[in-house]
């Protein structure tokens, strides 16, 4: 297990999340994918921290989790508001800005 392996694993997870964001229309799953991407980044942080031999990476992850919690809270709140307004969670149907 080298740092290269850790970064690659983080990259794989990030890519999975990315594909999820790009290809799914259910906004809940899109949000879920974003969470996966965030976790991938967290993994990369911890991996680099372990490689460098200090704790800064872990502290970054700590903050990242905090921000992620906030993001999920607000994001899900918006999903609820959106569903209440438009009765859909389909991202393709939420395109008012287009016109």
């Amino acid at each position: 297990m080298t740092v290269g392996h850790l970064i690659t694993l983080s990259g794989v997870l990030f890519t999975i999340g990315m594909v999820g964001v790009m290809s799914r229309r259910n906004i809940l799953i899109v949000l879920l994918s974003v969470e996966l991407m965030l976790n991938a980044v967290a993994l990369a942080f911890v991996g680099f921290g372990a490689w460098r031999g200090n704790l800064d990476g872990q502290i970054m992850v700590f903050f990242a989790i905090t921000v992620a919690a906030a993001e999920v809270a607000v994001g899900l709140a918006m999903v609820i508001a959106l569903f209440r307004l438009r009765l859909t969670v389909d991202t393709d149907r939420v395109s008012l800005l287009k016109d």
């Binding site: 990315m18 964001v21 790009m22 290809s23 799914r24 229309r25 899109v30 991202t91 393709d92 939420v94 395109s95 008012l96 800005l97 287009k98 016109d99």
Partner: protein, 623 residues
């Protein structure tokens, strides 16, 4: 004396402003009285100036100074302006008084007097100006007050059109005037008459002769506007749409004379001695213009039906005489004729006003007749004015008109001399025609004519008296040196060649007799001649088609150009210059808009694609 000069100038202005800002005064009889009083002040002060006429009064203040250029507003009271002041003051007083009777019952008489006083102020400004720019300023003001007065009956479309026409014709002419002033400024380095005269005297004129001549012609163009010379004459007959006192004061006695006065004032600066002028060929142009105007107007006057129109064309014709004299370099004689003409033409117009008033605003002479018995005072005054105009000795016109013909003779302008003599005959012809149609025969109208009240006839009598004696006074009295004193240039006494006097008197008598033969028995006497020369008649009735050609020019040239510009504005400036960038932007935006599909997945893919390309770039190309 300087204070008195300012009083003269400002008294009518104060009256006008008071009337404007105190609406209550306008309704009462106080308003007219105030205006009349202010004109009386002018008349009184001008008499004072006349008593102390050996003294030249100058006073000025700095109007504006920018860089080395100083424009001042200054008053110059010398013999020339004193005489003109007298004319404006006396004729103005008579007409102001007359107007109280004529305009009686008009609900907005106060407004009328405010404009009237404003006009007198502007006119006095021209008379008293000591430099070209100030003269131009008041010149324009006269144009504007004329606009206001002609358009006094603003609910009549014809009056509005006439007012607009007068203003615009004058504006076009003023275009030349201002250019001329600028040219003279650059040639002599000053706007002030005295300094210009000094520069000319010292030969300190920078520029070739043709520029001076051109400047002279351009200034004369300005005078052509106000003095209604061909081809700028078209406004004057139309201006008869204004109330008759307005026609009398402005379009007969003073405003139209302003052009002549201005030329005398301006050109005397360029006078190099007896008859010679620094302006070169400009004189010839001036004399010819005057001759053409005099003759054309007199012929048109022959066929007019409206009594005011006859007098209007007669005014044109007489102005032509004055301008001919100017062209011949006889400035003092032109001024003489201006003076006499102001009095007898003012008189004639007021008589016409009295007749119109008596006939309940009927102006067509063919619907008058026999008024001799019903309006005796008006009749006699008209008769005196008419004979003065025809040049019957010893009335005023005799001296001044014959002196003009004499000056043409001295300059060997034979063609003009003959034209002037023929015009004298025509003058007698159309005036006698008007006289006979109005006062003799049977009454042909429907109203009951009556003599005007004393407030109107008294001014008539006053003017009739002056018209009768002024020629004699001038010719034999102080008039000679009085006319000739300005700048010491118009030397030489007024002297008349008896032969010429006889010839022109004979011409007048011939005209008088022809008219008598035609119209003594019946007002239809002219119809035989009309039947014989129908085309000539229609040419005269249509005023040589000059108005029509102007109309055509305005409608078909000016409006087409204006519409073309508007089309250019809308099609090229807005359509192409603005439209092209707008089109490109819109097209590009339209294409790019489609990328904003609104699909989250697409945006994310773009983002990822961008990041991928960036990474690949960084680690392949950049490494």
């Amino acid at each position: 004396m300087a204070f008195l000069a300012w009083v003269t100038l400002l008294a009518p202005l104060i009256a006008a402003i008071t009337l404007l800002v105190r609406p209550r005064l306008r309704g009462s009889s106080g308003g007219p009285k105030l205006a009349i009083f202010s004109v009386f002040i002018c008349a009184a002060t001008s008499l004072v100036f006349w008593l102390f006429r050996s003294e030249t009064v100058t006073t000025s203040f700095e109007w504006m100074t920018v860089g080395d250029l100083t424009i001042s507003i200054g008053l110059l009271v010398d013999n020339l302006s004193t005489l003109m002041l007298l004319v404006v003051g006396l004729v103005g007083s008579a007409i102001f008084v007359f107007a109280r009777g004529y305009m009686k019952g008009d609900p907005s008489i106060g407004r009328f007097y405010a404009k009237f006083a404003l006009f007198v102020f502007s006119m006095l400004g021209i008379v008293l100006a000591d430099n070209f720019l100030m003269m131009f300023i008041f010149w324009e003001l006269v144009g504007a007050s004329s606009y206001l007065l002609i358009g006094y009956y603003f609910e009549k479309p014809s009056a509005c059109d006439a007012a607009k026409k007068a203003f615009l014709t004058n504006r076009v002419a003023d275009f030349g005037f201002l250019l001329g002033i600028l040219m003279i400024w650059s040639l002599t380095g000053s706007f002030e008459f005295a300094k210009i005269a000094d520069a000319v005297k010292d030969g300190d004129v920078s520029g070739p002769q043709w520029q001076l001549t051109l400047a002279g012609i351009l200034i004369f163009v300005g005078a052509m506007g106000k003095s209604a010379q061909v081809p700028f004459h078209v406004w004057l007959p139309d201006a008869m749409e204004g109330p008759t006192p307005v026609s009398a004061l402005m379009h007969a006695a003073t405003m139209v004379a302003a052009g002549v006065f201005m030329i005398i004032r301006a050109f005397s600066c360029f006078d190099l001695g007896v008859g010679a002028t620094a302006l070169g060929g400009a004189s010839m142009f001036i004399a010819t213009t005057g001759g053409v105007t005099a003759f054309l107007a007199a012929t048109i006057a022959l066929v007019q039906r409206d009594i005011k129109k006859v007098l209007a064309y007669s005014t044109l014709s007489q102005l032509g005489y004055m301008v001919m004299a100017l062209g011949a370099g006889a400035y003092s004689i032109a001024m003489f004729h201006l003076t006499t003409h102001a009095f007898f033409k003012g008189l004639l117009f007021l008589c016409a006003g009295s007749v119109i008033h008596g006939c309940h605003h009927e102006q067509d002479m063919f619907k008058m007749g026999g008024l001799r018995k019903k309006m005796p005072a008006t009749f006699w005054c008209f008769t005196i004015g008419m004979f003065a105009l025809m040049g019957l000795a010893p009335l005023a016109g005799f001296f001044s008109k014959d002196l003009i013909i004499d000056s043409l003779h001295q300059k060997h302008l034979v063609g003009l001399q003959i034209g002037a003599t023929v015009t004298a005959a025509l003058t007698a012809l159309y005036m006698t025609r008007a006289w006979l149609l109005t006062f003799f025969g049977e009454y042909r109208g429907h109203a009951t004519p009556h003599e005007s009240p004393p407030v109107m006839t008294r001014p008539l009598k006053f003017l009739a008296f002056v018209s009768a004696v002024i020629g004699l006074v001038f010719y034999y009295g102080h008039g000679q040196d009085y006319l000739s004193a300005w700048h010491g240039k118009f030397a030489g006494p007024l002297h008349m060649d008896p032969t010429i006097a006889v010839v022109s008197t004979v011409a007048g008598v011939v005209g008088f007799l022809i008219a008598l033969a035609l119209y003594k028995k019946s007002h239809r006497g002219g119809e035989k001649i009309v039947a014989r020369f129908p085309r000539l008649h229609s040419l005269l009735v249509e005023k040589y088609y000059i108005d029509d050609s102007y109309h055509w020019l305005v409608q078909n040239v000016q409006q087409v150009i204006a519409r073309g510009c508007r089309w250019f504005e809308e099609a090229i400036v807005v359509g192409v210059l603005v439209g092209w960038p707008v089109g490109v932007t819109r097209w590009t935006g339209d294409r790019l808009r489609r990328m904003q599909s609104g699909r989250l997945a697409f945006y994310a893919s773009c983002f990822v694609g961008g990041v991928t390309i960036l990474i690949l770039f960084l680690y392949t190309v950049a490494h």
